[in-house]
Symmetry: C2
Subunit: 137 residues, 2 copies
């Protein structure tokens, strides 16, 4: 059994702020984790979708992995973007106008995407690069 | 807690046949149940997607509830069809060309869809109607 299917998710973190407490202005970048259930809920929360969209409107890096890009569909920000995701949602991203490719990590003007937890090393590396570029601009 | 969120799924059934054993010719109708994980796997199985598509090609009733319609997206059978689903995947169905509506049950020429387990009584009633109509034709 692979590490990411046996609930060995690593350390737990306490939520420090909720959507009501924050705006995109206060952050340098956004990471949308995956999981089958998490993005499925997040994409139905209009306030969360608006928060995600704000990062794109402000040109800040956004990273999404596995099912994370589902929320990007509802934020209406994938049309014309090159990206990847877990295979199960590839057709949904294509139908939303994305140029979907099967690669371990894709960077398209600040949008960093990967497919599965196995891609995490490449995903994290590119995400850090994008954040550093953003901060130095 | 609602009955359908506390794992009280009712009786379990043993799988009697797998995809390798069957063709759509042998059945009068197809039911695609929901769940967040089940259709997410099913839609990536090309043989399963082909099996689903065969029911549409043969004009047989197909019923899908909750996340069940995700597999219909991959079978490329929702374009121009009126249907419903769990809210989380509504944008994916719209992007695939469906006329998505928020109703407890929708019937469109043999395609029966509902949103959540709370819609099951209406869903089951319409499904039975469609099967009976199909058999008597």
């Amino acid at each position: 059994m692979k590490a990411w299917t046996n609930k060995n998710w690593g350390p737990e973190y306490t939520v420090d702020k909720t959507l009501n407490d924050v705006t995109a202005d206060e952050y340098d970048a956004l990471v949308l984790p995956g999981g089958v259930i998490n993005p499925d809920k997040l994409r139905t929360n209009d306030e969360a979708v608006r928060f995600v969209k704000d990062f794109f409107d402000q040109g800040k890096p956004v990273a999404a992995i596995c099912h994370g890009p589902q929320t990007l569909i509802n934020a209406d920000v994938v049309n014309g973007r090159k990206l990847t995701s877990v295979k199960a949602i590839s057709q949904d991203l294509i139908n939303a106008g994305a140029n979907w490719v099967d690669e371990e990590v894709v960077v398209d003007e600040g949008l960093v995407t990967s497919r599965t937890p196995e891609d995490l090393p490449a995903f994290n590396k590119k995400l850090v690069e994008e954040i550093k570029e953003g901060i130095h601009v």
